[in-house]
Structure formats: C-alpha cells, structure tokens
Amino acid sequence: MNSFSIKIGGEAGQGLVSVGNILLQAISQEGWYLFSHRDYESRIRGGHNFTQFRLADEPVHTLEEAVDVLVALDKATIDRHRQELKEDGVVIYDPSVQGETIDEPGFVAVPFVEVAQDQGQPKVMANAAAAGAIWSLLGDDLERVNGIFAAMFSRKGEDIVEGNKKVAQAGFDRVRDALGHRDMPPKPANAGPQYLIAGNPALASGALAAGVKFMSAYPMTPSTGVTEFIAANGRRCSVIMEQAEDEIAAMNMVVGASYAGARAMTATSGGGFSLMTEAIGMAASAEVPVVVIDAQRPGPSTGLPTRTEQGDLLYGFGTASGDFPKAILAPGDVQEAFYLMGHAFNLADKYQMPVIVMSDQHLADSYETTIPLDMDKVIVDRGEIVSGDEAGPDYKRFALTESGVSPRLVPGSGPALTVAAGDEHDEEGHLVESAEARRAMMDKRMAKMKGVAEEALPPVLVGDDEPELVLISWGSTKGALFETVDKLQEKGQKVKGVHIKQVYPFSQDLEAVLQGPGKKVVVESNYVGQLEKLLGMEFAWKPDGCVRRYDGRPLNPDYILRELEGGGHLG
C-alpha cells in the first residue's frame, strides 16, 4: 500500500472539525481511499485535539504512527507531534500561535487568520486558509476544495463561498510557493462508487435498515452519535428516539417497547451499561429481544471518556446475575457495523434474547471510505411471532419447545393474551416456585444457546494457511491487525490474521485455528487480555504471546509490529 498521512492538531473549538470535514470530503471525492480518526479530550474548548487522515491507493482501515504532514493550529501540535514526522515531512504552522518562526526544512509558516484577513475576510475563514494550505500538497489546484465550499456554504450566500475560495487560494499559494509540487499516492483506478462513513452512523443506519422502531438512550460518549443519528431520522424512518432520564429508564423503555412488539435498541458506554445490566437480565428472563450497543471507552469508571479501549468484554460476558442466553457481536469496521446491526436484531428476535454489540470510540469516531452499504442485503427475520387472532385461548407464551424458542405474541394483536415475567414463571408466564418448573424453564431458555452457538459467525481469516505466526483480535482492532499481517507477509513471514466478530458464543471454527500451526498472539486494547481469557475459558487454551494497549489510543500496525519485535510478550 502506498499511503500518505496528515495530522491536524489544535484546541477544541478552533475549527479542527471544519477543516477536517473539508479534507474528508475532498480526499474521498478525489478518489483516494481514506481512513481518519479523531483524538479529542473530554472538554468543549481548549486542550489539545487532533485529527489524522490517511489516504491511500488501496482500501485503508487503520492509521500509521508517522505522518507526512503536520498542520499545527496550536503550539502543542508541534511540541508533541513533531517527532512523528517522516523524513521529508512537512509542517504547516501558524507563527503567531507558535510564538516564533521555525526555520527548518519542511516547515512552512501560514498565519491562518492573517491570510484570511489579508483577503478581506473574517477570522473564521482561517479554516479555509488551512484547508487550502494542506491541499497544495495534495492537488494541483483548488477545484475540488472549491466545489466543497460551494456545497457547504451556498445556503449562506455567494459571498461566503467566494470568500472561502479566495482565502483557500492564498493558503494554497503560500505552501506551493514554499515547497512546490509533492508526489502523492496514485489514485486507484476502478475503485467503484464509495461511501464515506464513520462507525456511529454505520451502526445507526444498520439499525434503521433492520427496521428499528424504538430507541431510548441517555447521552454518553462515544455512543451519542448513534443516538443523535436515530433521533435525527425519527420522522424519515418512523422511529421514536426518546431521551431517557437515565440509562435504567432507557433500557427498561426498550424492553417495554420490544415486549409490545417493536424492534428496539439502546446505545451507551461503560457506566451507562452498568445501569442497564439489570434490565438486560430481565429481558433474558422474560424472553424479550433487545439490542444494546456498548461503545467502549477506557475504564474503570468514568476513565477517559473520549478515548478508546476494548475493556468491557468480560463484563459483557458476565452481563448480569444468573445464567441466560445472549450473544455478543463486535464489528471490526463500518461494513461490519452496518450489517451486524441487522444480524443483531435477527438474532435477538429469533432467540428472544439480548444481543450486545460492542463498539468502541475507535470504531465510533473513525471515518473510512468503503464500498456502498446495501440495504437489500439486510434481511429482516422477526423470528417466531404469532398474532393474537391465531393464537387461541390456550396460548402459552413460554410453551416448552425443543429449540427453546416459544412463539411470541404481540399484545393487542387479537383476543389471545400474553403474560411475561422477570420472576421465574410457568409456561403461561405466571410465577412459580417448584423445582421442576424452574428446571424446565431453565432448560428451555438455555436450549436456545444451542441454536445461537450453531449459527455463531465464523472468524474472518486472512494470510497464510500454514502460518508460523497467527495474530488474533476482535472488534475494531481488525484494520490494524490485517495491515500488520500484510506488512509481515511483505517481509516474507508466514502469518495468518484472525478477526473475531462474534465474541460470544464463539464459533467452533476457532478451535481449529487455535489448535492449528503457528505461534498464537492475541492482540487487543485492554490491560488483562480479555479476549485471551475468554478463549482460554472456552477452549482450555493459552496463546504464545500477546500485544495489548491500554493507554486509550487505538492499536495500529506500527505499535503491533514494535511489540512483536520487542518480543517481550512472546511467552
């Protein structure tokens, strides 16, 4: 792969997001593949944030640590990130913010505000100066960027569009004059139509495509993007998003709505998930399908609210008191985010149980270009539902069946009645105390896990069939994992990559991989090795080594390769 990385750093509220949006659009429209991640603090203004873009001639799903261009809207960007610069790297900075002019090769001073004002434009157009300056490295002219200005600002009037264009041109010229033309990765031919989308909208769209009719949530980073996306499309997609007073209410509203017959979901993170676990257990007992997105962030507790981690797997595995059927899915990229939501709803409906979708800040907030999401591929399977007209007076909500699944009745759909309880109950749903009835109902509920396990999604495998090294990971680490495999293969190593997108129950296909050839290394974003522990539990197995990251930043191939080379973690 041939790629090029740009990092733009600045304070919150300085316009980072605007410059970022322009670049996201421009780069992807220009035809490159793109991956971009935001790194931001838990505050609204100030601090030090950055966005990193990586464009490439091949599909790209992770960042690299070194950057080709550093754009400094604040002083901290250069102080903290200059050592990440590649040889020949370029730094575009604002000398007025930096407090000095830096006379080093590759450093170009662009006083963004001044540039805007020189063009007779207001200060806020400093953003356009930055965008133009950056674009001088990527393109030969500003046509692409100007088109974006037109689309973005036409509602605000022609003056604004033209002002932005002028300022961008001035920024462009400054850098072009200083550095001349730069070679960029080739633009892929025949890439075909692409989407530009981040994890949160992909999850939300997946839910809408699956026919979610009700969502309730309480805002919590990094899940809020899902919530607001659903809310924004309430009218368009006939879905209610009701902001709850707390996560307990959110989850219980969802269970109530699903009991009543609507596909229903929530999204939360860490502490919010804690508050939902009681109702998740209740849904399992009353056999009410629910889908819960847990967008992980570093814990314990409030931890680092805007950072990433894969630290809730063991918690999700335990979920709540007692034994009950459930499944946990962990999308690795926006494609999986979209399609696994549909799968989650189908599993939930088919087995009348909770399904947890584990996202994280890295997935939630990273944009990537990807082939179009196809809603015709989303199949809606509501499982066994019986109407109140068909059911007849002897209908029993929890009729004992071999599969463990009993046809569900939508209340009000006809004369038959449906009774459900979180207490232990008999086939009709009324409370029981006897040992026999308890055993029968446990057997029935847990029988569902047979079906769930049989259709567990297999791991995604890449690389060699007879590997010397097998790298195993889950969820949003997928992109970093697979690129690491590529890089090691390029160096001539025999490597296999194993991406696990269903983390509970595991596909039995994993057994062959774990017992197969090659040293096994589990790669994940947490301290204790949560996937490793679960694999150990299921397969009585221990890996040969591990790569773990727990500083709140996403894994990437450079980090993984360094750890593998360090070898310290190879047991």
Binding site: V239, A257, A260, L417, H430
Partner: protein, 289 residues
Amino acid sequence: MADKLFQTTPRETAWCPGCGNFGILNALSDALEELSLEPHDVLFVSGIGQAGKTPHYIKGNVFNTLHGRTLPAATGAKLVNPELTVFAIGGDGDGYAEGGNHLLHAMRKNVNITYLVHDNQVFGLTKGQASPRSDQGFVTGTTPQGVSLESFSPLATAITLNAGFVARSFSGNKSHLVETIQAAVNHEGFSIVDILQPCVTFNKINTFQWYRSRVYDLKDDENYDPSNRTAAWEKAQQWGDRIPIGVFYKVDRATLDEAHPASANGPLVKQGVEYDGVKEILDGFAVNG
C-alpha cells in the same frame, strides 16, 4: 350471570388473607368491566412486590417487570402502541423508592398511562421495612429507632410536576376506587392514583380501621376545584387525623406520543422498515466525486 370479561382468575393469590390488595384487584376488575375494553386491549405492567403480583390475578396482557421499573417499561410499550390501554402497577416502595426518578420524569413526559400505586406505607414482600411512605417514627428492621425521614408526598409531588391526573383512593372503599380508576383511564395523559392499601401483616399502625376513620371524599367539599393547582398542592399536604381521597388535580397537556412525529401513521408496532427513508440516508454517505 355472564362471566366478567376482566374476571379475576381462579389462580390462588400470594397475598395474606385480609390484605388490602384484594380490594384493589376487585375494584380494578369492576372498573375495567364498564370501560368497553377487552382484556387484550389492556396491558398491565407491574413491578416487584406484593402489589406487583396483581396482574397475574386478572385477565389482560401482563408484563411483570423489575422492582421500580414499571413506568419506563410501560412508557416504552405505550409509545410503540398507543392503541393499548396501559396500566403501571406497583407498591409504594417500587414507585417512590427504587422508581422515584422514573416517577418524576414520567410526569414530565405526560405519557398516556394509568399508574396505580398500592400504598401500604411499607415494604411488604421483603417483610416490613420502611418505605418512603412510612410515617415518621415507624419502627422496622432497618429503622430500629423509628423512621426519621419525612414521609414522601406523592400527590404534592405530582401536582408540583404538573401531572395530568392526580388522585388518591382507598382499598376499603370499592365504589370510590372503581370510579377513580375509571376517571384515571379516561384521562388523556399521565394519571397517578395512590391507593391506601392496608398491609395486615407488616403495618400494624396504618390499618383498615386507621384509614377508614380518617378518609373523607374531596367531593364532599362542594368548593373543591381540581383545576386549582395551589389549592390542590395544599390539600395534598393534609395527612393525619383527616385524609382526603378523590381527584386532587387535573390538567390537560400534550401527551408524549403526540410529541413524536414518527407515530403519525399509526402505531409503530405495525410499521415495517422505511425502505425509502433508509435508502435516502445511505445515499447521503455516497462520495459524489
């Protein structure tokens, strides 16, 4: 005599003989009988506690959910299917202790459900600990020195939160209770009926006799006007020698389901995937280079 539609089932109840819950169960059954509803039009969402078992003894759809969580579960169900007549049923512990936050916000939301609180001023099922409704000085296993907290006033709180329909009734006065439940169901918006319900086992203070000798009907006062919010709030403070029952406060406000444009085309439970809407959203992600 024809069978009642909302007959109480022959199922043996888990209640103590003489418990105030029986009066509520019977009144509920009678109230529904006259409301031209069928059992399958009705959903009873209940909590955990002796009160929470009520729906198991009457005909209707039942969701016996968690301790303290009746209101959000009922809200979720009502929002996706406004055609259901939804009751939330639970004890005073369920509603005013564990569920207090939901009560506050259900009233703000003004979702169109009827909330029946079996108020025995004690935690019955867990054997007699203090509830937020226990009178000061009430001695229990968790409050051996007697309750020091001021008793919670659900009615004054509901009036403060501008709940749509705020009433109190008494398990020992069936006709009053039947009438109050019917009025609550007929009210469009959130209705709360706090029902004095003697617990013959764990509350030896607030007994049938104690209540009976104290309650009086607000209707007896011709001048009482349930649209006067301040007067209602003051009336709701009355407790002790004389305890008013009846409709304290009533106000019409927009309900939560009306606030959501999504339900414009009928109950959401009857809607499928909005193919065109989703398509439009997905198209919005396309890189139009």
